[in-house]
Structure formats: structure tokens, C-alpha cells
């Protein structure tokens, strides 16, 4: 008798997420078709608003695969935005500023990663310190809100306002004008990051080592993998991706402020979890996290389109979804335990 091929846990969790996203989006389309929810642009807007989050979630997925966590990402994004805004206000060019932000990410990640990898300090504690540091530094750079206008830096302004139109999927508005769908630069950056990290996780030794460490750190060490270096690199990667996310975020908001991106780390963690990444490590995929971000974005979008619901509703819906996912995951774990007995 031929045994039915087992779907592995990675794939199944991802599948559930995809189905959920489609159902949610289809629901939104049916209920709010009159308000233009069916237009392709609605979907693209979700991508535009969440491009920063996509990069951050990719980074977080990487560390979560090793059974770690990085809660410094929200503060780092705020710090990045503030650096960009203040730097450019003081006359530094857009490209040097972006490079500086990336270098900051490398250093930030190097410090956090070394503490976690080599000194074996709990990731939660280390990145919590990073979180306070990032938020504090943001305020040290400048306490008030700094907007990036055309006068401050024309190049950055041009990047932020560039429309990349798509040749399909447009609609004619009620004044009879054809509205071509468009995305922005940050969406391209985010999607590029997504693809690179996806391939890296799947096809490089480093990527596979991340999964191995998440599966069993002790075994990974026994099998001769360099656990410490791999963990350090994971946190470095997370901070670098967060910095890229910070640039995307800044392109979207065109401002730096101390209160920016508060709780972004939680959005990223919840996206990853909804996308099927286990907090216990070893299971997960950036595609899942991407769809997790889309699900969160869709919820916000639906609530916004409705117009009457209070803005707190996305939180409650996200909470409900997270709950469902945690239950599914624990059922999974229970099933696995039973099978192994």
C-alpha cells in the first residue's frame, strides 16, 4: 500500500494562511465593492503602506527561525527615519544618508548578534535593550517632528513621489478619467528583499543552518554547524533588513518623529506568526510572513473602507486571528507529539 505523501508542517501552515488571506480579501471585495475595494489599486495601496513592514517582517522571520526574537526593530525604524530626516535637513545627500542608515543597521545588528550568539544572552533581553536605545537615540537626534519636503531634499522627494504605473488593471473613475494602477519605489525594494531572503533561506547553507538551529540548537552544534556565528549573522541580517525597512517607511511617511513606528515590532511578529512561523523556531517562511503582513493590511483596509468602524478594530481582529493561529499551531504540535509516541 502506498502511503499518502505527508504535507510537512511548513507547507501546511503556509497553506492555511494563504486560504485565509484569499477569504478575507474576497470578503472585503464582496461587502465593499461599491466603495472601490475591488480595484487593483486597493491591493497595491496595502503593499505601499506596508512596504517597510514587509522588510522588517522578513528580518524577524530570520531570527524567529532560530527560535529567537528581535523587539528592537520598531525603535530602529524610528531612529532610521529620524536620521534620514535630520541628516537631509542639514544638507547631506539622500544617497549618503541611506548608506549611513544601512551601516547603522550593520553595527546595531553586530552588537546585538554578538551578545546573543557569543555571550549567549537571551535575545529578548538584548533586543529590549536595543529597543530602548533606539527610541532614546531618536529623541537625542531630535525631539520634534521633522518633515522631509522638496526644499529639504529634492532627490529623496522625487523617489518618494515616483509612480510606477502598471499596464493593466486600471479603472475609469466617475469623471471618465482612466486611473492607471501604480506602485511606489518602496514596494519594489520590499519585494526584492522578500525574494532574496526567500531564496537565501531555501538555497544557502546559512539559510538551512537557521532552520537546523531552530529545530534543535544542540543537535545543530553536534552536527558541526557554527551555531554562534550563525545566530550572530541572523541578528545582523535582521537589523540590516530593518534599516532597509526604515528607508521604505520613511519614503512612505516622509518624516521623522520620536513616536514613529511604535509597536511595529509587534506587527512584524504577529505577521510572522500568522504566516506560520513558530516562535519555537525551525518552522516558517518569509512568504508566509509576507502574506501575514497582507492579512494585517487587508484588515486595516477593510476597516478604513467601512469608515464607520473605530480605528481600534484592526487590533481586535488581529488579536482574534493570532488567537486562531496559536490554537492551530498548538494542535499541530500535539499531533506531532502523538505521532512520535
Amino acid at each position: 500500500m502506498k502511503k499518502a505523501k505527508n504535507i510537512n508542517s511548513n507547507t501546511l501552515l503556509l497553506l492555511i494562511t494563504v486560504v485565509l488571506f484569499i477569504a478575507l480579501y474576497a470578503g472585503g471585495c464582496i461587502v465593499y465593492s461599491a466603495k472601490g475595494f475591488t480595484h487593483l489599486q486597493t491591493f497595491l495601496n496595502i503593499l505601499i503602506t506596508n512596504s517597510g513592514l514587509i522588510c522588517v517582517a522578513c528580518g524577524l522571520t530570520v531570527v524567529m527561525l532560530t527560535a529567537g526574537i528581535d523587539i528592537s526593530v520598531g525603535s530602529l525604524v524610528a531612529m532610521d527615519c529620524m536620521m534620514l530626516a535630520v541628516g537631509m535637513r542639514n544638507g547631506i545627500g539622500a544617497i549618503p544618508m541611506c548608506l549611513l542608515v544601512l551601516i547603522t543597521g550593520v553595527v546595531f545588528g553586530l552588537v546585538q548578534g554578538s551578545l546573543i550568539g557569543y555571550l549567549n544572552i537571551q535575545p529578548f533581553i538584548v533586543t529590549m535593550a536595543g529597543m530602548f536605545f533606539g527610541r532614546g537615540m531618536t529623541a537625542v537626534i531630535c525631539t520634534e517632528q521633522v518633515s522631509i519636503t522638496q526644499e529639504i531634499n529634492a532627490t529623496f522627494y522625487k523617489w518618494a513621489n515616483a509612480k510606477i504605473t502598471l499596464p493593466f488593471g486600471g479603472y475609469t473613475n466617475n469623471k471618465g478619467k482612466y486611473m492607471a494602477p501604480f506602485v511606489r519605489v518602496e514596494v519594489l525594494i520590499a519585494l526584492l528583499v522578500l525574494i532574496i531572503i526567500f531564496l537565501m533561506l531555501r538555497y544557502t547553507r546559512f539559510g538551512r543552518a537557521l532552520y537546523a538551529i531552530g529545530g534543535s540548537e544542540q543537535s545543530a552544534a553536534m552536527m558541526g554547524l557554527n551555531v554562534k556565528a550563525t545566530k550572530m549573522k541572523a541578528y545582523m541580517l535582521s537589523s540590516v533588513l530593518t534599516s532597509i525597512g526604515g528607508i521604505c517607511y520613511c519614503l512612505n511617511t516622509m518624516a521623522g518623529s520620536v513616536q514613529q513606528a511604535t509597536g511595529l515590532e509587534m506587527d512584524a511578529i504577529s505577521s510572522a506568526v500568522i504566516g506560520g512561523t513558530l516562535l519555537t523556531g525551525g518552522v516558517g517562511n518569509v512568504l508566509g510572513s509576507f502574506i501575514g503582513v497582507l492579512i494585517n493590511g487587508t484588515i486595516s483596509s477593510i476597516v478604513k473602507t467601512n469608515g464607520k468602524l473605530a480605528s481600534s478594530w484592526p487590533n481586535i481582529l488581529t488579536a482574534a486571528l493570532l488567537f486562531v493561529f496559536i490554537v492551530i499551531q498548538s494542535l499541530f504540535a500535539a499531533m506531532r507529539a502523538r505521532k512520535n509516541r
Binding site: Y203, T204, S219, A220, M223, G224
Partner: protein, 504 residues
């Protein structure tokens, strides 16, 4: 180095703080042989293996490996793998969330031209490796989808594929069933044909005789000898491991005495705990050793727990020394002169980070109350007395318990209960997981204690052990007391009673 020898260790010595773990030990492994490394708990087997695999730094001696000119000194498992020594442990050290193929190749995956891992190539290679070893698995499936036995074999396959000359199997069969063990043996024999030298560490004597060619015996960190399997029958092996004659084992108990005229220590009537044990009557006399027999899960421990108050009895009455008593929780039982050694000692018994002395006085301190601290002098007195009485092998009473071997930890817990000088002592699987020598000592001790007028309830999965020590047996089946055997207790009688009349 002589021909066809793959590994020699000469004069290996190693000390842990206060304990001489290995002293001048020699070990020789030949090509294509399965070599059993035997010894009681604490004999130095694990230490020797850790010296070979680079986990322990040995102090003196040399290790030579075939093909390496210099003496080898490993500093990590990675070093050991590089010179061809691979180890497979009792717990599978692989990643359950990765595919079988990845587990075989992780960290050394074949790469494509783009420096990415070549999944196709290692999937094909892995399938071939597993097919060659006669293990039928789909290598693209996650490891967690397979049984522990298969996982164990994948670990071995990985070790073998890394071109190991020496394969160390450390208690690989502990969690496998008979059929799985047989599969593992098949694999071991196959590797032997290929010229791999295998070091096999196990507690199971019959497995040694089923698969090994040669036996090296260690005792107390010293080499006892190396023997071809044919020269060392089972009885002699046990004697070599324990360093004493086996006659001790046979007759621990003298004649079975009739103790029914002695005063009653415990008398239960219709005692029950709903859901775990059905109502039972039980009388235990002074100086009696009463065994509780039955299959695992038949209610053996539960019966004891309901007397001791660990599970509060719902119905029935209990008399201790002919007085009606109410036991709500274990401290009540302790105050009535009872003690219980629970079966899950890791979780309920030993406290690893306390010293031997502190572990021993723990129950006594709890009984006297936490505000009446025993004086240091008194503590030392008690600890010394029981270390001596039970011959606990520890460098000092102030050694941490986790530094002792399993059997000695066991004795420490036993000492803890003896220190409360109970009149009635419940021992739930006191000999599980410890070596034969210590087992015998504990059995002797039980008989001795009974001789001093203590009543003992002895629960064990090993029938012979109870036959040797008990005056009377209670048989449990399906959470119910189904019978008692007194007088001449034999293994057959017990088996029949447990099986429940279907025996003949």
C-alpha cells in the same frame, strides 16, 4: 600500531573534582568489530567515551587513530569527526524539522556553481545512502515523520557517511522496541562488514551477546579486562562488572517467615481513590516486606499513593498501629511515621543543586518544621551515618548531588527517607535505572530494614527482585487488588496471578 587496529587508547586518566573518574585505562578497537564497553553506573564508560570524542580533556595517556601519525587529542566533537570518530547518542541529535536528506548533509551540502545548496544532488545521494543501508525511507520527508528507530539509523547513516572509522553507539537501544533493536543490529553487522569499528555501550546484557565480538569491562574508573565474547559468559561478565561473586544475588532473603502474628502496622479497609484505584483491603504487619506486583499502569503506585495521602482517599478507612487516622496530605502520613520514595525521582525526588547532606536531611527538616532548623552538627551526623550505612560513593557530604552517579543519587534519596526513621516505608521502583550491584545492595538493605522491625512496601517491575525480598505479594490488575500471595512466592505464581487465570 598492530594491523587492523583502528583505535588505541593507552593509559587514559582523568579526574573530576574529588573523584578519580578514569585511571590508567587501555582500550583497543579493531577494524570490523563490535566492541562492548561494559561497567556499572559510575564505572567510567561515559567518561572514557567523552575523552575519545573530545568533550572531556583527559589528563594523561595517548589516543592513536589509524592513519594519523601523531597521538590524537580532540577538543570538540568536530575535531573527533575530522579524525573519523563519530558518536550516536541515546537522544537523537538531529533536527526533526528538516528532511532526512538535510539531516544527512547539513553543514556539508554539495553546492551548485552559484554556491547555493544543491538540493537535487543531496536528495539523490541521501536516497542512495539509505537504500544501501537497507533503510526504507523517503529522504525528502521531514525527520519527525519517522519513528525513533529510523531517526537513530539516520544518525548512524550520517556518521558512517562522514567516513568514520570509529562509530560510538552510546545506549542507542534504550528507547527502541525489540523489533527496532533487531533492525539496528542488522545495520551494525552491515557496518562491521564494511570495516567500521563500533563501540557499543548498553545496559542490556542480552544485546551484548547478540551482537558483540569483544567486551571491555571497566570498574570504578579502572580497566578490569578485555575479553573475546566466547570467553566471558554472562555470569562472569556480571561478576567482572561488580567485582564480586554472584552468589550474593541469589540468596538475599533467608526463609520466608510467617509474620502474621506480629502487630499490625497498617490496615486499610475499602480504601479507594476514584479514577486511580478501586476499593481495597490491605494489612501490613510489623517487619514485613510486602511487594506490589502487576503490570505498569495496573494501579501499583496509585495504591501506595492513596495510603500515603499523595492522592487523598475518597472512601474507606485507614488504621495505623491500630488507631484510626485521617490522612489528607503527605505531611500527615510523615507525621504518622510513613515515608515514600516516589517513582519519578527526577521530577519528585532528587534536588540536583543541593549537596548530599542537604538532600539527606530534607525530609527530616520538613517533618520537624521549617522553623526548627537542625543544627549543623546534627546534620553532619545524620549525613555521615547514612553515607556510611548505604555506602554512598561521594567525595564528601558537601558534594553536589548532580556530581554523583545515578545509583548513588538513588541511595541519597533512600537515605533521606531513612533519616526520618519511618516505621512504614513505601519504595516505588527504587532500583529502576541503576546497575545490578547497587540493585543488590538496595535489596539487601530492604531485608535488613525489615529485620529491624520496619514495614516496607516494595513496588517493582522486576518480579525476581520482589520474589527475592518480599514476605508477601499483593497483585494488582486493572486498578484493582486481585489477590495476595504468601508463603512460598515464586515467579510462576506471580505471573499467573497477574495474567489472571488465563495462564494455564
Amino acid at each position: 600500531m598492530e594491523d587492523n587496529v583502528v583505535l588505541t587508547a593507552r593509559g587514559i586518566s582523568m579526574t573530576f573534582p574529588g573523584v578519580k573518574a578514569l585511571e590508567n585505562v587501555d582500550f583497543t578497537l579493531r577494524k570490523g568489530e563490535i566492541h562492548a564497553l561494559m561497567g556499572e553506573n559510575g564505572a567510567g564508560k561515559s567518561t572514557l567515551i567523552k575523552c575519545l570524542t573530545g568533550i572531556n580533556d583527559f589528563e594523561a595517556g595517548e589516543i592513536h587513530i589509524e592513519g594519523v601519525d601523531e597521538p590524537v587529542k580532540n577538543h570538540s566533537t568536530r575535531d573527533a569527526q575530522n579524525v573519523g570518530i563519530s558518536t550516536v547518542y541515546q537522544e537523537v541529535n538531529l533536527c526533526p524539522n528538516l528532511s532526512v536528506a538535510e539531516n544527512l548533509f547539513i553543514g556539508r551540502e554539495p553546492l551548485t556553481k552559484l554556491k547555493t545548496v544543491d538540493r537535487k544532488s543531496y536528495n539523490v545521494k541521501s536516497q542512495k545512502i539509505m537504500d544501501d543501508l537497507g533503510i526504507s525511507v523517503d529522504v525528502t520527508q521531514n525527520l519527525e515523520n519517522y519513528s525513533l528507530a529510523i531517526q537513530q539509523m539516520v544518525a548512524i547513516a550520517r556518521a558512517v557517511d562522514m567516513e568514520c572509522k570509529v562509530l560510538i553507539l552510546d545506549e542507542p537501544t534504550s528507547s527502541l522496541d525489540d523489533e527496532e533493536v533487531e533492525k539496528l543490529f542488522k545495520l551494525m553487522r552491515m557496518l562491521k562488514e564494511k570495516g567500521v569499528g563500533i563501540i557499543f555501550v548498553t545496559h542490556f546484557l542480552e544485546q551484548v551477546y547478540a551482537v558483540c565480538d569483544r567486551i571491555t569491562v571497566l570498574r570504578n574508573g579502572a580497566l578490569v579486562g578485555e575479553y573475546p565474547i566466547a570467553d566471558l559468559p554472562r555470569v562472569k561478565l556480571v561478576a567482572a562488572m561488580m567485582g564480586k561473586d554472584l552468589d550474593d544475588l541469589a540468596a538475599i532473603k533467608g526463609e520466608t517467615k510467617d509474620l502474621s502474628h506480629e502487630p499490625l502496622e497498617i490496615s486499610a479497609k475499602g480504601l479507594a481513590h476514584i479514577g486511580t484505584v478501586k476499593p481495597f483491603d490491605l494489612e501490613i504487619h510489623k517487619g514485613e516486606v510486602i511487594g506490589i506486583g502487576g503490570l505498569l499502569g495496573s494501579g501499583r503506585s496509585e495504591l501506595a499513593r492513596s495510603i500515603y495521602g499523595a492522592d487523598r482517599a475518597n472512601t474507606g478507612s485507614l488504621k495505623v498501629k491500630d488507631k484510626d487516622v485521617q490522612i489528607h496530605q503527605p505531611i500527615d502520613a510523615m507525621n504518622l511515621g510513613m515515608g515514600m520514595l516516589p517513582d519519578d525521582r527526577k521530577a519528585e525526588g532528587i534536588i540536583e543543586d543541593l549537596t548530599v547532606r542537604e538532600n539527606i536531611i530534607l525530609a527530616l527538616q520538613a517533618k520537624t518544621g521549617m522553623f526548627k532548623k537542625l543544627s549543623r552538627q546534627k546534620q553532619n551526623e545524620i549525613a555521615d551515618r547514612y553515607i556510611d550505612l548505604l555506602s554512598i560513593k561521594t567525595p564528601s557530604p558537601d558534594t553536589l548531588v548532580k556530581q554523583l552517579s545515578g545509583g548513588n543519587q538513588q541511595k541519597v534519596i533512600l537515605a533521606r527517607w531513612l533519616a526520618t526513621s519511618p516505621d512504614f516505608l513505601i519504595l516505588d521502583e527504587p532500583t529502576r535505572g541503576i546497575d545490578i550491584g547497587t540493585k543488590t545492595e538496595i535489596q539487601k538493605l530492604i531485608v535488613e530494614l525489615a529485620g529491624q522491625g520496619k514495614s516496607i512496601m516494595f513496588i517493582s517491575s522486576e518480579i525476581m527482585e520482589m520474589v527475592r525480598t518480599c514476605n508477601r505479594m499483593v497483585i494488582m490488575r486493572d486498578r484493582e487488588k486481585v489477590g495476595e500471595i504468601g508463603g512460598d512466592i515464586t515467579e510462576q505464581k506471580i505471573m499467573h496471578a497477574i495474567a489472571g487465570g488465563e495462564g494455564e
